[in-house]
């Protein structure tokens, strides 16, 4: 039943999404993206997906590397996992928001730990797995955020 509903909703958006995707891509492609994920396969897949929208996507395998990268370059959007070695996503986001208050943050996590805090500190929050619609929503929100 759930599957049926999901599929229906998925199909209903298809026409609409079709033309819109390219427009979205054009709007957001100039933004600098930082992506943190410790799981290699996940990072690989997600980075590839992000690259389809954004020209510049930097990735880091933990929070510490991510934060170091953030300090060296101007990023518009940060995608991050939460449970990561060395520095977790939450601490990294806190540190980032101290430097750049306008940064747009998206949390993609499998964890339920400190959910409330994440929601408070992130602009967008999604639990894994992330659907295609979720990603489109992210794009739209970015468009809204930066008035593109």
């Amino acid at each position: 039943m759930m599957v049926l509903v999901l599929r229906l909703s998925f199909q209903s958006k298809e026409f609409f999404v079709d033309k819109k995707i390219k427009e979205l891509k054009d709007k957001v492609k100039e933004l600098n993206i930082l992506y943190c994920e410790d799981e290699d396969d996940m990072r690989l897949g997600t980075e590839l997906f992000l690259n389809k929208f954004f020209v510049s996507v930097d990735s880091a395998s933990d929070g510490k590397i991510g934060f170091d990268k953030f300090k060296e370059k101007k990023y518009h959007v940060v995608f991050t996992d939460i449970m990561m070695p060395n520095m977790d996503g939450l601490d990294m986001l806190k540190s980032i928001s101290e430097i750049d208050k306008d940064i747009f943050t998206v949390t993609l996590t499998a964890s339920e730990v400190s959910e409330d805090e994440i929601k408070r500190i992130s602009d967008l929050y999604f639990r894994k797995p992330i659907t295609y619609e979720n990603m489109i929503t992210v794009m739209e929100k970015i468009v809204d955020k930066f008035n593109l």
Partner: protein, 639 residues
Amino acid sequence: MEKRSKIIILLTILFIMTMVFIYLFTSLNMRQRIESALDSHLYKLQVNYELLLHQQKVTANAAYQSTTNKKYVIDILSKTKGASKKKLDYLRKELYNKLKPKYKILYGKGVLQYTFTLPNNKVFLRMHKPSKYGDSIDGYRYSFEYVNKTHKPISGFEQGKTAHGFRNVFPIFDKKHNYIGTMDISFSSDFLLGYLINVSKIYSHFLIKKTVFNIKSWKRDDVDLNYIPSYENKDYVMSDTYHKHKHKQQYKYKHLLNNIKNFEPLKEKIYKNMKIGKKFSLYHQYNDKSVVISFYPIKNIKDKKVVAWIVSYDHDDFIDLTLKMSHNVRILAFFIFSMLFYFIYRVLNQKEILDGLVEKQTKKLMESEQNLKLLNENLELTIEKEVLKNQEKDRLLYQQSKMAAMGEMIGNIAHQWRQPIAIISMWANNIIVDIDMEEVDNDNLKKYAMKINEQTLHLSQTIDDFRNFFLPNKEKTSFILKNSVDKTMSLLSASFKTHNIEVIENIEMVEIFSLENEFTQSILNIIKNAKDILVTLPKSSRRLIFINIYKNDLYVNIDIIDNGGGISEKIIDKVFEPYYTTKHQSQGTGIGLYMTETIITKHLGGNIYVENVNYDYEDVNYKGAKFMITLPLIKELND
């Protein structure tokens, strides 16, 4: 109750019988005693009477001897034969004068009549009444006739026309032994009575039969006798003795007589006895004193018929005593036996009551035994129930722990799966976005699909791991402990990674023969328990779990140590109890450690302990809980 009334009836009958027996016995005894007392009275009367008669005979005999020894008596009497009236008068006068002094003496000795008769039965001289003579005594003086005929002496009671008395008639012979007449010495009954009263102290009187005695014609001056109707018997008259013999007890005596006069039953008894004509005595209660009345018959000299009675009255203390004693004995016996029977009744009743009590108690005992039996049965049932309940509880606990473990596993699976699913989803997103952007490239698509397949393999592997973990081992197998620990850790890897938990293993290669899945579940529970406490530690501190496995000769030791700060000493003894948990509801059910202990001790035959430990690791001091499991090395034991 019925038995009691039976006892009462029986005892009452027995009591009455006893009383009757005692009454009869005392009556018999009393009668015998009274009889003998009466006999003694009668005997006394008889002895005294006979003594007196004998004395009278002796006196009479002496008088006869002394009279006939006198020559002039014989001479005078011899001359009477054929003598003229004048000569007779002369002779009579001479004899009278000569015997006058002698008569005086005899009179003093109680002689009433001193009479001489001639062989022709005519009175020659009455010394007591010399004026009357010459009359014939034919027909009414048998004694004289008898002596005249037989010339032999005779003595006895004789009833005369107007008088009566005890006669002693002797024949008188002259020198040639010719019969010349009779001499009579008579004693009055009055004298006899006087003697009895004054000498023998017997109060008595004479009764004389009316038929032979004519009171009316009995008026004589010479004899001072007073006759009145008998008090005892209407057919008799009695000599009014008390009137004559003054005595201090006379009044009382008369009083007694008067009493008898008015007492008909006694009179009747006396009448009957007198008709029989034999001596008898009886007693009569008067003023609480018994009066003994004795009757002694006096027979006529002629025909030996009873014509008079001598009756004596006497008090008898012995009879009084006997009566009183019998009475007292009866009363005493009544009380004694009453008490005795009451006592017997009490004893029997007591016994009855006791028996009743015993019976009751026995009944009670039996009842209580029954109850006890019932109780026992109930107890057995209750125990059985409890055992069943416990088994059910254990089963339920086991079930719950299974469910909890399953929940745990599902949680773990979800955790293990979330990442691969997320990856798959992301590769799928790439496909979709390529399509949407109309940049579909077959090589890329293939790459994406292969990435997805990789992840599905991972998913499949996870499922297999968990399923194997959950398949219960029915049979013991040989397995290397290290592999079991690795399997366990692989299930938890995602979770441990998420929570930054470090697992430090120091494991010897030990192979044991046991139930592998049970073992892994046990250590999983302990590790999970450690994990649950470790996640509460601040991020800054390290989260450590040590797994040490080492063996000695017979046992393998598995130590699992955390750095969670240890278990509170208050509850450390209770951690293996079911439903005991310090954790928040969402974290645990409180049966994990209980089930672990059950599995280790009951299924695997080992032991499990817990203690708090302090230890150094990489120059930092940590505090935590140490779970120690010892399992037997079956292989070696089998050797």
